[in-house]
Amino acid sequence: MRLARQDRYAELEPLLASVEHPARYLNHEWGAVEEQDGPFHVCLIYADTYEVGQANLGLAILYDELNAAEGISCERCYLPWIDLSALMREKQVPLLSLESSSPVASFDVVGFTLAHEMIATNIIETLDLAGIPVRADERDEDDAIIFAGGPSAWNCEPLCAMFDAVLLGDGEGEIVDASHVVRDGRAAGKSRAQILLDLSRVQGVYVPSLYDLVVDESSTRWGYAVPKPGTDAPEVVYKRCIPDLSVTDPIPQKMVPYMGIVQDRLAIEILRGCARGCRFCQAGMTYRPVRERPIEQVVDAAEQGLETTGYDEVSLSSLSTTDHSQCALILRQLDERLEGKGVRVSIPSQRLDSFGVDMAAAVSGSRRGGLTFAPEAGTQRLRDVINKNVCSEDLENAARNAFELGWRRMKLYFMMGLPTETDDDVLAITAAARRVLEIGREVVGRGYKSGVSVSVSCSVFVPKCYTPFQWCGQLPIEEVRRRQDLMIRANRDRDIHISYHDAQVSVVEAALSKMGRAGFDLVYGAWKRGCRFDAWTDQFDYEHWLEAGRAMGIDLEELAAEPYDLDARLPWEHTSPGVSKDFLKREWHRAADGVTTDDCTRTSCTGCGVCPTLGVNNNLVGDRCGR
C-alpha cells in the first residue's frame, strides 16, 4: 500500500541517540538537493550503509540527472544498520528517504543499485523495512514502480522477482526516460501492467514480468527467458550506451558527506570501459567500448570540483586509469594547477609496468605508502590463460622501479581457482612474492631496518556471466582450502604476509552468479533465516545460506562448482551488454590453448561485437602507446 508523503523525521530522531554513527541518517549534507517539490518523486537506494553507498559514483550521476529533469525530484536512501532497523521495526517507523524524510513507500519510483551479488538479501531487507511488497507480482496498482540497475545487473534473474524493471548499461538518459514513462502513464491513468509494457519499449529497459521461464534440453537446469506471447517485448534487451563521455557532467559528485565514507574524496571519471580483455573480468566485458574524457575537461573538473566541495583529495577513477591515453599529461597539469593547495591526487590502480610506477610516483609526491600490483596469477602459463598481458619481467621491472623510487611495501593481488590452475601455479604465487621481496632487498638492503615487505592478497575466482569463463564451475571449496594451505605453507619469509578471501562467501557469490530465476527462493530463504549485510564479514552466516539451499533441494557448493555446457542456453542471455556469445566462446577456446588476445584500443578490432551491436566505437582522445 502506498504510504502518504510526509516528513516523518520526528519519529526517527528520538532513535538516533541510541544507535551507532547517527551521522548516517542526518541528510542536509553540503550539495544535497533540498528542494524536493516533484511533483514526480524518485528515491534511489543503495542497500547498504550510508558510508558504503554514498561513495557510489553511479548513484551520484543518476541523482543529478533526475534532479535536473523538469518535474522530477530525486532523493536518496541507504539501509539502516541493524541497530536502527531493529528500533524502527519496534517503533513502527517505516524506512524513510534522506532528503525529505518521507516514507520510501510513498515514492512514485524506487531504484536499487545492484552493486554486487552479496547485496541481494539487503534489497529484501530494504523493501521489507519500507513496507513495500517484496515480490513485484504482489504489489498494488499504486505501489511504487521498482527499478534496478548497476554493475551486477547482467545476471539479475535471481533477484528479478523483486523488480518491475531493470535498466541495463549507462544510466545517463535511460533513468530519466524510464521515469517519464512511469510519470506519463500515471498521469494518463494507465494500469500498472500497461506502464510496465510501455517501459519495455524504452531502449535498455528489461521488464522481467513480460518473460516466461523455459527449461528444456537446450538450457541449463535454470532455464532461459523468452518474451510472453503478445507482449512484443524484445527477445534480447541490449544495454544503453553513451557514445561520448565528454557530453556527461564531469562532476556528478556534488555532495559532501559529514561522516567518513569508504572513498571520501572527489571522484572524476576519466574514462569508461576497458578493452584489455582479462578473461575473468566482468566489468572489462560489460563496460565496453572504451570512452575517454578529454584532458581539459578532466583538469578543469578536478579544480572546480575541489573548490566547490572542499575536498582535499581527487581521485581519477575508472577501470584502468593509467590506460588513459593522456594520463601523464593530466597528472602533470593537475600538479601545476593544484600546487600549494594541500590537495592530493590519487589513481585507483597501477598498471603493472614502469609507466604505472611512474604515474604512482607522479601522484604521491614525497609520500611512499604501499604500492599495489595485480599480476592475478603466479605463472606465465596461467596469466596467458586469463589474458593478463603481463610477464614476470614486467612485475620484476615494476617492483625494481618502485623500490628505487622509494617504496618499501608492495602489495600483490592474485586469484585462486582460475581455470586450469595447478599446484605449480599456486606455488608460483608465493615464489613471485619472494622474487619481489628479493628485488626489494637488493635495492634497499637486507635486515629489519630496510622496511621492505610484500603483502599477498588472494581472492577466490568466481565465474561471472558475460566473461569467457562464464561456463566454468568454481573450484570446490575443499580444494580451495587445500590450495590456500599449500600457498601459506610455501611461505617461510616473515616479510611476506599472505591473506586470502573467505571461500564460503565466494561459494554464495558463485551460486548467485550462476542461477536463474529460481535463485530468488534461495535469497529469500537466506533472508528469512536472518541473512543481511552479507558483504560484512562479521554479519555473513554461511550456515543460513546452506540451509536455505537445502530447503529447496540444492547443494550450494555443488551448484557453484557445476560447469555449463558451451552450447547451453544460459539464464542471462536475454539481457546483454552487447558482447557476442561467439566472441566469448572463441576467447574460452583461446584460454584453453593459452593464447592471448590483444587490447583493441592498441591494435585492431578483436571482434567482441559490442561496437556493431550497439552502434558505438572506442572513443579515445589520443594514441595509446605500448601494450
Partner: protein
C-alpha cells in the same frame, strides 16, 4: 625569512540535526567549509600536508553547542568581516560561524587552553525532580570519582576538580540542570557520564529518564580563579604552551 602567519579564532555553534555529528565529523566538515570559503589557510610541513587548524574540546555526539571554537592559521591577514562572511556562505547552517578575530600566534593550543565549560541540560522523565537530582549529583561529587565504560573500556574520572558546580530547577516539562566543568590533561567530565552516575545513586532510585538534551553554552580559560573569554583581547596573551 619565514612568511608571516596569522591565527584567526572563529566561534561557531552546533545545532539542529548536526548535533549528532561526532568530533571528527565536525572537524572534517569545517575543514571542507574553510576550503570552500577559499580562505588563504596555511598547510603544515608534515608528511600529510594538512591544513593548520585546531579545535576546542570534543563535544559529545548528540550534544548541541552555542560556544565552539577553532583557530585557523592563515597566510594572509584577511579582513575579519570578509573572512566571516566567506565562511558563513560556505558552511552548513547548523555549524555556522558567528564571530572571528585574530589572536596571538604563540598562544597555547586551543583544546588545552579552553579548560572550563558551561552546560545546560534539559531532562524529561518520571520519578525525579530538581531536589532529587541535586542530591544525586552531590552523592557523585562526594564519591570523588566516577567509574564508567566507554565502549568496551573501563574508564575513571575524578569529580573533585572536574565538577565545579551545578544547579537544578523544576520546569513545567521536567528538570533543567546547569553544570560547570573543568578539564585538564587528566580528563574532562562529560554531562552524560555524570548523569548516568547520578541516576544510579540512592536519591534517584526508581527515576526514569525519557530524554536529555545537552547543550554546551560556553567555554573559557581559567586562570588564577578568574575566567577569560576566548576573544578577550584585554588579556595579555602571555600564556604559551
Amino acid at each position: 625569512m619565514a612568511d608571516e602567519l596569522f591565527r584567526l579564532r572563529v566561534a561557531f555553534h552546533k545545532d539542529g540535526r548536526l548535533a549528532y555529528l561526532g568530533h571528527l565529523e565536525v572537524i572534517n566538515t569545517i575543514e571542507r567549509s574553510i576550503r570552500r570559503a577559499g580562505l588563504p589557510f596555511s598547510v603544515g610541513n608534515g608528511f600529510a600536508k594538512r591544513m593548520r587548524v585546531q579545535f576546542s574540546q570534543a563535544l559529545p555526539v548528540g550534544a548541541f553547542s552555542t560556544g565552539e571554537y577553532f583557530d585557523l592559521t592563515l597566510t594572509e591577514e584577511l579582513d575579519t568581516a570578509e573572512a566571516l562572511a566567506r565562511l558563513k556562505a560556505a558552511s552548513p547552517t547548523a555549524l555556522g560561524p558567528e564571530r572571528c578575530a585574530y589572536v596571538p600566534r604563540k598562544l597555547a593550543a586551543l583544546e588545552a587552553w579552553l579548560d572550563r565549560s558551561d552546560w545546560q541540560i534539559e531532562l524529561r522523565g518520571e520519578g525525579f525532580d530538581a531536589a532529587r537530582l541535586e542530591e544525586g549529583i552531590a552523592c557523585v561529587k562526594r564519591a570523588g570519582k566516577i567509574d564508567f565504560m566507554r565502549g568496551e573500556k573501563q574508564r575513571s574520572i575524578e569529580t573533585e576538580t572536574t565538577l565545579v558546580s551545578w544547579e537544578t530547577h523544576d520546569e513545567p516539562w521536567g528538570v533543567s540542570l546547569g553544570l560547570k566543568t573543568h578539564s585538564s590533561n587528566l580528563g574532562a567530565l562529560r554531562p552524560a557520564v555524570l548523569l548516568d552516575a547520578a541516576f544510579a545513586t540512592e536519591p534517584l532510585a526508581g527515576a526514569m529518564r525519557a530524554s536529555q538534551r545537552v547543550c554546551r553554552c560556553g567555554q573559557w580559560h581559567e586562570e588564577n580563579g578568574g575566567l577569560m573569554e576566548p576573544f578577550d583581547l584585554s588579556f595579555s596573551w602571555s600564556l604559551t604552551a
